[in-house]
């Protein structure tokens, strides 16, 4: 009870702030929390909304799955081989810091429109951080684990499978958590540009019509979903860490 009280207070304060804002921001500005909720419920009753959500969801799942698969494998490879890790890291870090939207035209030119471009954009956002975080986890693995694996008679492949992967699992889940939010962002920005389906498109369409309440409703929906998934991942993360929570 004691733990839930402060966040609730903060959430309430945000709601009050929002209400005040909507009351003072003039005619077409921000809808009140209640209006937004009503709009969201209304939208959620239409099949159209769920089509969009499913479209976004599909692109998102694809890009996340690809990012996790490739990112963790490349990350482990770069972590195990120190030399290649040191060579590629600066390139990856620079790419990570790059505003990926800049490259959007390139993606469109290369992939055309639709699902593949959206997935590519999601992957572009999520792949590098997952790779970097995995590599870091592997290269910072305590050397004594490798030595222990050897003295217990494990070969290199068995060591990677039974020691390295479990050892970096918490970091891997953390990487997935970061990758998840970035690939969602990537997919949504992708949809905002050129697409007729998906929540990103719905938002940009509403933007064109100046329909702030719809945008807020979509935003709240996405935020709720994202936060729920994030909390789930955080829980998994602390579970695989097997350590008492940090103070």
């Amino acid at each position: 009870m004691r733990k839930i009280f402060p966040p609730l207070t903060i959430a309430l304060a945000v709601l009050v702030g929002w209400q005040v804002l909507s009351a003072t921001s003039g005619a077409h500005a921000v809808g009140s929390p209640l209006e937004t909720m009503r709009m969201l419920l209304h939208m959620m009753a239409t099949s159209h909304f769920w089509l969009d959500a499913a479209e976004t969801g599909a692109a998102f799942v694809w890009s996340l799955a690809l990012s996790i698969l490739c990112g963790s494998l490349i990350g482990v490879a770069l972590g195990v081989s120190r030399a290649s890790g040191e060579v590629f890291e600066p390139i990856l870090v620079t790419f990570y810091a790059l505003p990926k939207v800049t490259l959007y035209p390139l993606v469109l030119l290369a992939f055309g429109l639709g699902m593949s471009a959206k997935v590519a954009f999601g992957v572009m956002h999520a792949l590098v951080p997952i790779t970097l975080m995995t590599r870091n986890a592997v290269s910072q693995l305590k050397p004594v684990y490798w030595r222990t694996a050897k003295t217990l008679g494990l070969g290199p492949a068995a060591a990677v499978r039974h020691v390295v992967f479990p050892a970096i699992m918490p970091e891997l889940v953390a990487a997935v958590r970061i990758g998840f939010s970035l690939s969602l962002l990537g997919v949504l920005i992708g949809e905002m540009f050129a697409s007729k389906r998906g929540l990103g498109y719905a938002a940009i369409n509403a933007m064109g019509l100046g329909d702030i309440t719809t945008i807020m409703a979509i935003g709240i929906f996405l935020a709720a979903v994202a936060i729920a998934i994030n909390i789930g991942l955080l829980t998994i993360e602390s579970a695989v860490r097997h350590a008492p929570a940090a103070r």
Partner: protein, 299 residues
Amino acid sequence: DEISITQWGASLYGAPFAVGIENGDFKKAGIDITGIIGSAGGGTSVRNILASQTPYGEVATAAALAAARQGLDIVIVNTATHTVAESTLVTMPNSPVKTLKDLVGQKIAITSPKSTSEMVFLMELKQLGIDASKIQRVASGGYTQGLTMLENGAVSAAVLIEPLSIIRKDNYRTVVRAKDMLPAMTTSVGITTREFAKAHPEKIRAIIAGRQLAVQQIYADPRGAAQLVAKQFNMSPELAEVAVGNMIAPRMWTEGGFDKAELDRIAEGLKLVGELNALPDWDHLIDASFLPDDLKASQ
């Protein structure tokens, strides 16, 4: 087949396709249009078209010209719309600005430099002989952003377009409507690749023919057409009715035929904003051979 239509679902450019799909006009003409790829407009639409299986689509004339200028393999096969009637210029209800002349020395919001909104505005000024350099044009990034600037007092007037202007008509006062000032000009066209045109001429013919049927249908029964548009665009029926109704008088949609004068007019406009520096070589860009026979003549 899937084709691309600019601003699908957001503006009325694509209305004939909405009507045609609902009515079965395309099937009648011999092609099954299963889906429309919408896009934000401009170059994106052209690229979509080039990237798709059936590379046919409708885009802004400016975009088609720009693509051709950069050496993309496209050809214009029909006209689509020939009015800028959906454009207006609005101000706050209590503003002293009554006519375009009152804007001299003031700021107005356009969407972005070299955009259609700027072109229309400059053409209107030219019509009235007002020196364009005396009115400062501010790029807002979009129509709604322009309205925000207007409400905040950052500009004295802002360009606006339907259906946004219908939704918000109570909040602003219209200064000028483009349809009252500007003559017809070819604002959007149907394009395809030369390669596809050669390989599948029958498909292009069918699309154009189906579209012609739909356009005729719109003018014959605007109310019925509006219902079909509302359904396809996921728009409220009332809004669709007003929007379609507004475009009947200026005859927004062409049946597909080319009109040299209307083509040149848009080119003049594009020259005005600096998009073009000479009239384009229309003969090279246009291939009228896919038009139904009754329209070929009008060239």
